[in-house]
């Protein structure tokens, strides 16, 4: 039973992934490639920039998310916040970067509103050398993800009941609501947000599309240098890109290890803080409301700007609205590739969730670290690199240009995300519920289906929605494996966007927002606890 339970995840996901990565080793062990990488004048400053933008954006996103959860959970705003988070999560990163960029750039909406004049001001507001614009955009874009991961924890049936009881106990001991939140809700929340936070950091430090729009160029982030190198036709330059990938992945691992050590060293201080006597700290409702509205406004404005940009072939400074509206960009959005995208997303999500749940049910939790580690590696590596390995693996097997190969290419990142998002909530499930059900003579299966499944409904639905969204956005591996035999919505979108036509890019970005938006809203709606 145990071995069998691990089989789907191992055979469909872990094994192909490991073999794909192994395909990359020969090129990355080439001495000349190492020499080229280490002699690259941008290597070290670009690496520093990548780590800084990743780390700072993660910290800002975490601070905002905790403030919002602490200030607004169990308030009237809570459900509305879930809808905002769902919308924010559904916007593709690149789309948000374009919308956000058009707000702050010298010829952007803010300058048009508040500066005016014939020519745009000389602002250094996008592509600033310090990566501030990129960091802010990343932080804003990740707030919905962390919030959603937080919802997955807080709206879980078993946890919600326990947390409420514990908060009541804290209140009876004289803790004000804010004080009780810090001591009762925050510790388990942070524990379960650990892996989502790691994803946010890894994503921020390795993102390419957002960095191309908002990031600095001299030097750019290392991910951009790597992207250029891997995109090259010359095998030697590709090898340099792979070496740089190893360096970046290694640096990320070192940072994460350092954070883990720091956390261990700070355990005593945390303990003292948590066990200190009650305080009168209130929930930061007003601050949370202001920050929540600001984040909502930025997301809404970015979306609104995208709609305008998709309809405006020309929108010169300092006009506040485009002179003419033209829907021709939307005409290019064809429905045929959408169906294939939806089919693949549903299949990949279903298989990913089922095999992950099977893993959790049959495997010891000590084994989780291996699959989660592998999932993190899969997400940290630039897709151009891992996709190259995957292509070389599937090619001799005759799976390139087939629907099954395309499915595997989608499953790799989808299963990685589902694993990471689900691990915290699933493993934290209070086993006493099952014990109680079994004591009431329920079979193992019916205890799982009738007790555990409903209680874990929220995190399961959210993990599925995230998996679905990840699948809808897949481009690089899919494009390579499809070898021109199949076309999905992102393939149409990204190839057209490579021409830099802004209305087209905006129209496709919005089209790519709709399916995940439906998924997230459905997850938020269906995932609400039946009891309150």
């Amino acid at each position: 039973m145990n071995r069998l339970g691990a089989a789907p995840l191992a055979l469909l996901w872990a094994l192909p992934l490991l073999l794909s990565l192994a395909m990359l080793l020969p090129a990355a062990s080439d001495g000349a490639a190492w020499h080229m990488a280490l002699a690259h004048p941008q290597l070290w400053p670009a690496l520093a920039l990548s780590l800084a933008t990743g780390a700072v954006s993660t910290l800002i996103a975490l601070a905002i998310s905790l403030l919002l959860i602490g200030g607004l959970s169990r308030s009237a705003m809570w459900n509305r916040l879930q809808a905002v988070a769902a919308t924010g999560l559904a916007i593709p990163h690149l789309a948000f970067a374009i919308g956000f960029g058009f707000l702050i750039m010298p010829s952007g909406l803010i300058a048009r509103l508040f500066v005016g004049g014939d020519a745009p001001p000389y602002w250094v507001s996008v592509q600033d050398p310090w990566g501030v614009a990129l960091t802010l955009a990343l932080a804003l874009k990740e707030v919905p993800f962390l919030l959603t991961a937080g919802f997955a924890v807080l709206s879980r049936g078993d946890a919600a009941a326990r947390l409420r009881a514990e908060a009541r106990t804290a209140a009876s001991l004289g803790h004000a609501p804010g004080s009780a939140f810090l001591r009762v809700v925050l510790p388990p929340l942070m524990k379960e947000l650990r892996w989502p936070l790691v994803i946010v950091f890894v994503y921020g430090a390795t993102v390419v599309d957002m960095a191309l729009v908002l990031g600095p160029t001299q030097p750019p982030t290392l991910a951009v240098v790597i992207w250029h190198a891997l995109n090259n036709a010359e095998p030697m330059t590709n090898g340099m890109g792979l070496v740089m990938t190893l360096l970046l992945t290694g640096a990320l691992a070192i940072v994460l290890a350092a954070v883990a050590l720091l956390k261990r060293a700070g355990r005593n201080a945390t303990h003292r803080m948590l066990t200190a006597g009650p305080s009168l700290l209130q929930r930061p409702r007003a601050t949370a409301l202001v920050i929540g509205l600001a984040v909502t406004a930025m997301l809404a404005l970015a979306l609104l700007v995208l709609v305008l940009l998709s309809l405006a072939p020309r929108w010169p400074y300092p006009a506040l609205l485009p002179a003419a509206v033209d829907a021709s960009a939307w005409m290019a959005v064809s429905p045929a590739p959408l169906w294939l995208s939806l089919l693949l997303a549903l299949a990949a999500t279903a298989v990913a969730v089922a095999s992950t749940v099977l893993w959790f049910e049959t495997q010891d939790r000590n084994r989780d670290r291996w699959v989660i580690g592998l999932a993190l590696v899969a997400l940290a590596l630039p897709q151009l690199a891992s996709a190259g390995g995957q292509y070389r693996l599937l090619l001799p097997l005759g799976l390139t240009g087939t629907l099954f190969g395309l499915f595997l290419a989608h499953l790799t990142p989808v299963a990685a995300y589902v694993l990471i998002v689900l691990a915290g909530p699933y493993r934290a499930f209070d086993g006493r519920y099952i014990a109680a059900a079994r004591a009431l003579a329920a079979s193992q299966l019916s205890a799982w289906a009738r007790v555990k499944l409903p209680l874990l409904k929220a995190p399961l639905l959210i993990a599925a929605a995230i998996g679905f969204a990840v699948s809808i956005a897949q481009f690089v591996p899919a494009q390579l494996i499809a070898a021109g035999r199949f076309s999905t919505l992102p393939m149409e979108a990204v190839t057209l966007a490579s021409g830099g036509n802004r209305p087209l890019t905006a129209a496709f970005a919005l089209a790519l927002t709709v399916p995940p938006l439906v998924a997230f809203l459905a997850a938020a709606l269906l995932g609400r606890p039946r009891w309150r």
């Binding site: 750039m105 057209l496 830099g500």
Partner: protein, 397 residues
């Protein structure tokens, strides 16, 4: 894995197959057309422009009705993707997923070097006789590398600048005049950072206009000669950069971004490799109809783009018929039409009959280049990595 074929043994295997080697030489064009019927051509082509995609869709329709060929446009963001795919396939001894690739420059060099291309076939194409090989020598020389019949010319490109004539009445017609303009209007001019293709071309143009000994450009050079010969270029760039956008400390990532910044009003001028792109953008409503386009007085860097057939293609006959159709006066004229794409033809007007020539009579429209300048061929390929490295060293971090 017993059937492990290397590139060379795969190529060798093809050569050993007597049917393939002798038949190819004697195959008449009619035979090729007959064989092509019913084949499918996977045309791997950059797809960042709706105009280009629409043109390729038209080609697909025509090939289907005229020759019974099914053409599928495999949409790429970067041609190097197809190069890597073909390389992996040939290494694994697999049939090709690509039958025709839109290609030039470094991607062609790599494929030629690694023997990944089918051919020579180009000069046996019936329509190749119409190509302007004397007036447009780059139809047979791709970035100073002989094509040797391994790729068939498709369209012409030449570095062209453009601006809003309402904001810039006297355009700079040389790199020196560009420097003067930048000093007058600091922060309003920029070029994309190399190794972006257009960024490289801007640098090459500056190189061609500043170098003391122009005879060095078409020849292979080493680092020592490069360092000496590029001194005036870097003196020029050192002077230019402080007057550029962001004082030349940050550079946009792509030509498209420069164009967008021009359209938004943040920049004064843009650059392109398609002389008809400005007119096309006016037509699409992206640029105002006061747009002007020009090429530097003493000529500007130009080249040709091609189509090539991978060595492991299983539809080489249909791919050749496609390449030949792309060279037909009808297809070339349609491609040159500003309303549809505006890609300049590789054909020689003097080799066409009057009715074929008439197909090319498109009216000049706003944003067309007023006075076309002569083409300066691309410098030898050995210049490019040295230029990129030196630029990165000086301005990269």
């Amino acid at each position: 894995m017993h059937l492990k074929l290397t590139r060379r043994s795969f190529a060798g295997l093809l050569g050993l197959t007597p049917f393939l080697s002798t038949a190819r030489a004697e195959e008449s064009w009619a035979d090729i057309e007959a064989k092509a019927r019913g084949q499918t051509v996977y045309f791997n082509a950059w797809a960042g422009s709706p105009q280009v995609n629409a043109y390729i869709a038209w080609v697909a329709d025509e090939l289907n009705t005229r020759y019974g060929i099914a053409l599928t446009h495999v949409k790429l963001t970067d041609t190097a993707e197809a190069v890597r795919r073909v390389r992996d396939e040939v290494r694994a001894g697999k049939d090709g997923s690509a039958d025709l690739i839109w290609i030039n420059g470094e991607n062609f060099h790599v494929m030629k070097e690694e023997q990944l291309l089918f051919g020579p076939f180009t000069e046996d194409l019936p329509n190749f006789a119409l190509v302007d090989i004397d007036g447009k020598p780059t139809t047979r020389v791709d970035f100073a590398e002989g094509t040797e019949g391994l790729e068939s010319p498709w369209g012409m490109a030449q570095l062209t600048f453009f601006a809003d004539g309402a904001k810039l009445d006297t355009p700079p017609m040389s790199m020196m005049e560009l420097l003067d303009l930048a000093k007058e209007e600091p922060g309003r001019i920029i070029y994309p950072a190399p190794p972006d293709f257009h960024g490289n071309t801007f640098i090459k143009q500056a190189l061609a206009e500043t170098i003391e000994d122009r005879t060095l450009l078409p020849v292979s050079i080493d680092k020592a000669i490069f360092t000496e010969a590029s001194k005036p270029l870097f003196e020029y760039l050192d002077q230019l950069h402080p007057s550029l956008w962001r004082e030349g400390k940050q550079f946009p990532q792509s030509q498209a971004q420069v164009t967008q910044m021009l359209a938004d009003g943040e920049l004064l001028m843009g650059l392109t490799f398609n002389p008809n792109e400005p007119a096309n953008l006016v037509m699409a409503g992206t640029l105002p109809d006061t747009t002007i386009a020009w090429q530097n007085r003493d000529g500007s860097i130009g080249n040709t783009h091609f189509v090539a057939i991978p060595i492991n293609s299983t539809s080489t006959a249909a791919a050749q018929v496609t390449a030949n159709f792309l060279l037909s006066p009808e297809a070339q004229a349609r491609k040159a039409d500003l309303k549809l794409w505006g890609d300049p033809t590789v054909l020689d007007m003097d080799k066409l009959n009057p009715s074929q020539r008439a197909l090319f009579n498109h009216a000049k429209v706003a944003g067309s280049v007023k006075k076309p300048a002569r083409t300066i061929p691309e410098p030898h390929g050995s210049w490019v990595p040295l230029l990129e490295a030196a630029w990165l060293e000086r301005y990269g971090a």
